[in-house]
Amino acid sequence: MTSSAAPASLEVSGLAFAYPDGHQALFGIDLTVGRGERVALLGPNGAGKTTLVLHLNGILTGGAGSVKVAGLPVEKRNLAEIRRRVGIVFQDPDDQLFMPTVREDVAFGPAASGMRGAELEARVHKALERVGMAEYADRPPHHLSFGQRRRVAVATVLAMEPEILVLDEPSSNLDPASRRELADILRALDVTVLMVTHDLPYALELCGRSVILSGGTIAADGKTADVLADEELMRTHRLELPFGFDPRAAAAKA
């Protein structure tokens, strides 16, 4: 990565972490994500993907190494600003949407950082507009379909205007139409995206670059089409393409 005027959205270097029970989950991770890049984070269950994500906004800390978001180190005294800059969309929208109405949920992040009144209202409207859910503002989240809830979950972090959007399994449990709608939304956003996923065609469709995390280390980092086409690499890390899916042909079509 050549150095440019704007610092990279995300710089992880030498990150290692062991859970309190002694289980070592990360062994020296180095990962840089440039501004505006969309990167897929692939890896088998238990590879440490969620552990890594929880380091990005300082929920987990205390191991070796460092994490910087747009140049700002993830440290206790920066946490409020870091959490504004890193928008994490968790896997289950029912965990993410905890307020009684969609509108209040989307407003939660910006309001927590002190925004009020008309400015807050405009911010909420814009975020809901970007995911096509503006007309659902006054609905309670549990009256929405799963796909709609996932979209609102994305809006809740977009409302914070984050430097980087981190999505944990964004396409899980979505029907094909909702999956495609979400892809359209994500593609239209002009933010840096780090997407944890098992959905390899989704990674190919949305992310130019893919990183494989396996056993707590980075096992591969390259163009998604190349990574997916490397059968040996894929097999070693328990990553399987859907039946009949040919990444080269799909990449050529895109």
Binding site: R83, R84, F98, M99, A111, M160
Partner: protein, 253 residues
């Protein structure tokens, strides 16, 4: 505030009472109940006047009498309690149809019944004209401890999620041939309850994580601030103020 959380007691309508800000209504009902409770029980006519006040407010709120009366049924346990009092309270006795009833107990029963009914009626009017979300905003505005308001709003948000989980567990049990009968069933049900508790606890942890990730640091940010004008406060004050006049008359007459 929208269609969101219509609860069973809420009754959608357009009325000046529906339009009042929630914290004005809560304060008015609260003060009304305090005034009613501090009225001497011997001033029977005062309770009649309170009932008239309630009827006037219900009329202004476009609540039909039948609806109000049906909702008063939650009072039934009180009534049972009141009916017992004349038999168990010691003191002077009066004889009615050959039954020895305690005079003190009769007054006590009247006291519980009259004050209870008025209090419940006022609360029913509050609940029929204010949706849950607004009630919570009102309580928050009245500076109820924010933790309580947070707990209440999580109950609204996650009530359905947990009921759903319960239903799924019950379906899973029955799909494996379980029928809830006999002593053995209890141990299975207790285990299910335990599992439900753990699932809810874990969900709580995940929700907390999501909240912290969006900047939660212990207190809920103010998103909707309900405000009331002086005129709205004065309008809401009509109920407790008239009640106060009646109460004072009750003490002096």
């Amino acid at each position: 505030m929208g269609a969101g959380h219509a609860h069973k007691l809420y009754r959608q309508a357009a009325s000046p009472v529906h339009d009042l800000p929630p914290h004005c209504k809560i304060a008015a009902v609260f003060l009304f109940v305090i005034v009613v409770v501090s009225t001497p029980r011997e001033a029977v006519w005062a309770f009649g006047l309170y009932a008239v006040l309630i009827a006037v407010v219900a009329g202004a709120a476009r609540i039909p009498a039948g609806f109000l009366l049906k909702r008063l049924l939650i009072e039934v346990p009180f009534v049972a309690f009141a009916v017992l009092m004349p038999f168990v309270v010691p003191g002077d006795q009066v004889h009615v149809l050959g039954l020895a009833l305690s005079k003190n107990g009769l007054w006590g029963a009247w006291n519980v019944l009259a004050k209870g009914t008025l209090g419940v009626a006022a609360s029913v009017i509050l609940a029929s004209t204010t949706d849950l979300r607004a009630l919570l905003l009102g309580l928050q505005r009245l500076k109820l401890p924010s933790l309580l308001v947070q707990i209440a709003s999580f109950m609204i948000r996650y009530g359905d999620v947990i009921t759903d989980e319960m239903r799924r567990m019950s379906i899973a049990r029955r799909s494996r041939g379980f029928e809830a009968k006999g002593l053995k069933a209890w141990s299975v049900l207790a285990k299910s309850a335990g599992a439900l508790f753990i699932r809810s606890y874990e969900r709580g942890e995940r929700v907390h994580l999501a909240m912290v990730s969006r900047g939660y640091a212990g207190s809920m940010p103010v998103i909707d601030d309900v405000t009331a004008t002086g005129a709205q406060w004065r309008y809401a004050a009509v109920l407790p103020a008239s009640a106060l006049v009646i109460c004072l008359l009750g003490w002096t007459l």
